[in-house]
C-alpha cells in the first residue's frame, strides 16, 4: 500500500516536472523555433529567412552587442522586472524608505531587495539586504546631511535584476508636534511616528513620462495636479496640504498623438509635517497599431511613445507570446513592423514596456488587431477617450461614471442603460463587481 502510494506520488511529481520541462515554441518576428531542444553537441537549423547554429548547450539567456551586431543567446524571449517606485521620508536621524513591489516576467522571480545608501548623489552606495519586504528604516543618520538611496531587486540567486532610481532625504531633529495626528498603519507603505518641523506636509513626485507630455497626478483616484514633462520626459510634481496617512497615488500621461497611458498606481505612507520624496515613477509607453485588421503575412506597424532613446520591448499575445525589441527616437517615438506570418487567424493584442538606465516600466495599455485573410484595414485614429467604462461619454472615467454604475448596482437596468452596459462594461446585462473592476482599470479621474 505504502509502496503504491509512493509510486503514485512519483507519477504526480514526474508529470509536474515533465510539464515544466516540456519544450515550447519560441519566436521572433520572422521565425518560430518549435520545441527547442538543448543540445550539448551543437546543431544547425535553417529556414528561408534565418539560420540558427546551436552552440554547445544553452546555459543562460543573455545579449551581446557590438557596433555591427547583436547576438542574443537562448530562446527568444526577454525576462524583465519592473523597477520599484521608491519613497523616502525624513525623520529624526532616520529616513523611512518604502517602495512598490517589483514585478518579474518570464522567468524572473523577485525574492528580495537591497537598499543602497550614500551621501553623494549618484553613489557610491553601501548596500545591505533587507529581505523580501517593501519598507526599511535607515537609522543612525546625521541630521542635516542629505542621504541618497536606491533599491535593488534580487532574484532567487540573489542576483541584481533591477535597480530603482535614486531618492534623497535629509534627516531633521524632531520637535513637539503642534497638533496630534494619527499614525498611519503600515499597510500601503509605512509612515507614522512623530512630526517634524516642516511647514507643511509635502510629497514630491518625480519620474519619466513622454517628452513635453501632460502628466496627471491622482490622489486617491481624484485629480490632484497636472504638469508638463520636459523634453527629456522627466517630470516633477509637488503636492502640499496633505494629512498624515496612507494614500494611493496614480499617474498617467498622454503622448503627442493623444494616446493615453495606462494608470500607474502606488501606495505612499505620508508623515504629517514631513516631506516625502517619491522617485522612480516610470509611466509605461503608449501603444497603437496602424491596422485594425491585417492580412496574414502582412506587416502591422506597432508604435507609440516613451522616453527618448529607450529600449522598447513589444509583446504580441496570442496562443504563443511573441516578443520584439526596438528603440525609441529622440522624441521618444518608437515603431516596429511586426510580421504577422506566424500569427493564428483571429484577434491579437500587443503591449509594450520601456527600459532605460537600468529602470524598467511596467507593461502599458494593450492595442488590438485582427489577423484575417482579407485585405488589411487601417486603424482609426485613436480617440482621446477610455476604451471602456466612460459611461457618460465625456472621455473620462471618474466619479461620475462610478456614480452612474453605482446607481444601477443591484437594480434591474433599463433598456437604454443596457446598451451602454453592453458597449462600455462587460455586457452581461447587469451592473456588478466585474463592471466596477473594468471601471477601475480604465480610470482617469
Amino acid at each position: 500500500m505504502r509502496r503504491s502510494l509512493f509510486i503514485s506520488a512519483g507519477f504526480v511529481v514526474f508529470f509536474w516536472l515533465a510539464s515544466l520541462a516540456l519544450a515550447e515554441d519560441y519566436t521572433s518576428s520572422n521565425f518560430t523555433d518549435h520545441d527547442p531542444v538543448i543540445s550539448e553537441s551543437g546543431g544547425y537549423s535553417s529556414s528561408t529567412n534565418f539560420q540558427l547554429f546551436s552552440g554547445s548547450g544553452q546555459t543562460v539567456i543573455s545579449e551581446s552587442t557590438g557596433t555591427a551586431f547583436t547576438a542574443r543567446t537562448g530562446f527568444f524571449y526577454f525576462p524583465a522586472v519592473t523597477s520599484p517606485v521608491i519613497s523616502a521620508t525624513a525623520g529624526d536621524a532616520q529616513v523611512t524608505l518604502t517602495w512598490t513591489a517589483a514585478a518579474g516576467y518570464l522567468g524572473f522571480n523577485v525574492s528580495g531587495y537591497q537598499v543602497g545608501q550614500g551621501t553623494i548623489s549618484g553613489g557610491p552606495y553601501s548596500f545591505s539586504s533587507v529581505g523580501n519586504v517593501l519598507a526599511s528604516t535607515r537609522a543612525s543618520l546625521t541630521n542635516g546631511t542629505p542621504y541618497y538611496f536606491v533599491v535593488r531587486v534580487l532574484d532567487y540567486f540573489s542576483s541584481v535584476i533591477a535597480t530603482s532610481s535614486q531618492v534623497s532625504a535629509t534627516p531633521v531633529a524632531a520637535t513637539p508636534a503642534p497638533s496630534p495626528s494619527p499614525s498611519p498603519s503600515p499597510g500601503g507603505g509605512g509612515g507614522g511616528g512623530p512630526t517634524y518641523p516642516s511647514a507643511q506636509t509635502t510629497v514630491i513626485f518625480s519620474g519619466r513620462a513622454y517628452p513635453k507630455s501632460t502628466v496627471t497626478l491622482l490622489k486617491d483616484a481624484q485629480v490632484a495636479a497636472t504638469t508638463v514633462a520636459g523634453p527629456d520626459a522627466n517630470f516633477s510634481i509637488t503636492l502640499t496640504g496633505l494629512n498624515g496617512g496612507n494614500y494611493i497615488f496614480s499617474v498617467y500621461s498622454e503622448d503627442t498623438g493623444g494616446r493615453r497611458s495606462s494608470l500607474l498606481s502606488f501606495p505612499v505612507g505620508v508623515t504629517a509635517g514631513a516631506t516625502t520624496n517619491v522617485s522612480g515613477i516610470f509611466i509605461a509607453p503608449t501603444i497603437a497599431t496602424d491596422k485594425s485588421e491585417v492580412k496574414k503575412g502582412d506587416n502591422v506597424a506597432i508604435f507609440g511613445q516613451s522616453v527618448p532613446t529607450a529600449e522598447i520591448l513589444i509583446s504580441v499575445n496570442s496562443d504563443n507570446e511573441y516578443f520584439a525589441k526596438t528603440k525609441s527616437d529622440k522624441q521618444g517615438v518608437y515603431l516596429y513592423n511586426f510580421d504577422t506570418s506566424p500569427l493564428e487567424y483571429g484577434q491579437h493584442f500587443t503591449k509594450s514596456k520601456s527600459a532605460i538606465s537600468g529602470e524598467i516600466s511596467s507593461y502599458g495599455q494593450t492595442a488590438a488587431f485582427l489577423v484575417g485573410n482579407k485585405r488589411s484595414v487601417a486603424a482609426k485614429a485613436p480617440a482621446n477617450c477610455p476604451a471602456k467604462a466612460d459611461l457618460n461619454s465625456d472621455c473620462h472615467t471618474n466619479l461620475i461614471d462610478f456614480s452612474i454604475a453605482a446607481y444601477w448596482y443591484k437594480r434591474k437596468i433599463s433598456p437604454a442603460f443596457a446598451e451602454i452596459e453592453k458597449a462600455k462594461l462587460n455586457g452581461d446585462g447587469k451592473v456588478d463587481l466585474v463592471d466596477f473592476s473594468i471601471m477601475a482599470y480604465y480610470w482617469t479621474g
Binding site: 506520488a9 481624484q222 459611461l391 462610478f402 463587481l433 466585474v434 466596477f436 477601475a440 482599470y441
Partner: protein, 307 residues
C-alpha cells in the same frame, strides 16, 4: 498455484496502476494551477483578550504578485462573544466603496470596493475593526464569500485564500485594557464635487457626486445643502449619499457639500450656481421689465389722456 503464489504481486501491480492512474488524472487537472493566490489575512493585535476589553483586528490584502483592483467579501463573527464597536477605513487601500461596510446588529457584514489602478503589495489594509469581547469563550472571526478581481480590464477573478482568525477570551479582570481612541483634529481630505446629469439617472436630472477620505477617524457621512444666497461653511444641509439628486434643477443655487469625519471634523466645498448671472436674475429682470412696462404704459396713457 501460480496465481496464488503471485496474487500478492498482481494485487500490488493492480494497486500501483490504480493509484498511478489517479495520480496521472490529478496531475493532469492541477499542473496548470498557479502556485500562488492572493490572500486576505485577519490579524488581531492580541490573540488573547479578557472579557469587557477592546481589541483590534486588521483585514489585510496580500496580492502575491498580482495587481488587484476590486475586493469584496463578508466578515462574520459570533455576536454572543464579540461586539463590533467600530469599522475604520481611513487608511484603506479601497478608494471607493461599492458596498460600504457598516456596523450592524448582525453577526456578519458585507463590503466591496475598488482601487482605481489597482493595488499590488504584501500588506494593504482593507479595514480595521474594533471589537469588544463580551464574555469568556473562543470566538472565530472569518472572511467568507471573498472576491478579488485583477486589474486587467476584464475583471478576471484572482485566486483568493484566507484563514479564519481564532481568538481566546479570558474571564474579565476588571482592567481597562487597550484603548483605541483616535486623536484627530484634521478635516477630511480636500475634494471636488461635480454636478452632472445623465439620461440614465432619474430621467436626466442634475445630480452632484462627491467622495473623499479621512486619514484619521474616517468619513462618517456627507451633507448637501442648496442655497440661493451665498452660504457660509456652516450652512445647514441634509445627510446625503453620492449621487445626490439636486432639488434645484434650474441650477440657480449654491451647492454646499460637507464631508464629516467620525470625530466631527468637517471639510466643506461650495459649488457656485451653474446658471449664469442673467439666468439666475431672470425672474427679477422679468419683474423689473414688467414694472417698467407698466410705468411706460401708464406714462403713455396719461400723456394720451392729457393730450
Amino acid at each position: 498455484m501460480f496465481l496464488y503464489r503471485y496474487s500478492w504481486y498482481l494485487r500490488g501491480v493492480v494497486r500501483t496502476l490504480l493509484y498511478g492512474t489517479v495520480g496521472l488524472v490529478l496531475s493532469f487537472f492541477f499542473w496548470r494551477l498557479p502556485a500562488t493566490a492572493a490572500e486576505i489575512t485577519l490579524e488581531a493585535d492580541r490573540t488573547a483578550v479578557a472579557a469587557d476589553q477592546l481589541f483590534q483586528i486588521r483585514v489585510w490584502l496580500n496580492t502575491e504578485g498580482e495587481t488587484i483592483n476590486t475586493v469584496a467579501g463578508n466578515i462574520s463573527y459570533p455576536t454572543d462573544l464579540l461586539n463590533l464597536q467600530e469599522i475604520r477605513d481611513g487608511n484603506s487601500i479601497i478608494t471607493f466603496w461599492v458596498d460600504r461596510p457598516a456596523v450592524q446588529a448582525n453577526k456578519i457584514f458585507t463590503f466591496s470596493g475598488i482601487t482605481p489602478g489597482g493595488y499590488r503589495g504584501p500588506q494593504g489594509e482593507i479595514l480595521s475593526l474594533i471589537f469588544r469581547a463580551k464574555k469568556m469563550g473562543a470566538p472565530v472571526v472569518s472572511f467568507t464569500n471573498g472576491t478579488a478581481l485583477l486589474n486587467d480590464g476584464r475583471g478576471s477573478p484572482a485566486l483568493l485564500k484566507t484563514t479564519p482568525l481564532r481568538l481566546t477570551i479570558a474571564p474579565a479582570t476588571g482592567a481597562a485594557g487597550a484603548q483605541y481612541a483616535i486623536i484627530d483634529t484634521n478635516p477630511p481630505e480636500t475634494f471636488a464635487p461635480q454636478i452632472a446629469r445623465d439620461p440614465n439617472i432619474e430621467g436626466n436630472k442634475w445630480f452632484v457626486v462627491f467622495a473623499t477620505q479621512d486619514k484619521g477617524a474616517g468619513i462618517d457621512h456627507y451633507e448637501v445643502g442648496e442655497h440661493r444666497e451665498k452660504p457660509g461653511e456652516n450652512s445647514p444641509g441634509e445627510r446625503a449619499e453620492s449621487p445626490y439628486i439636486l432639488k434645484d434643477q434650474t441650477l440657480q443655487s449654491f451647492v454646499v457639500v460637507k464631508a464629516v469625519d467620525k470625530l466631527g471634523n468637517q471639510r466643506t466645498v461650495i459649488l457656485p450656481p451653474r446658471a449664469t448671472f442673467w439666468q439666475r436674475q431672470r425672474r427679477y429682470l422679468i419683474g423689473i421689465l414688467i414694472v417698467l412696462f407698466i410705468i411706460l404704459c401708464g406714462g403713455l396713457w396719461s400723456k394720451k389722456r392729457r393730450s
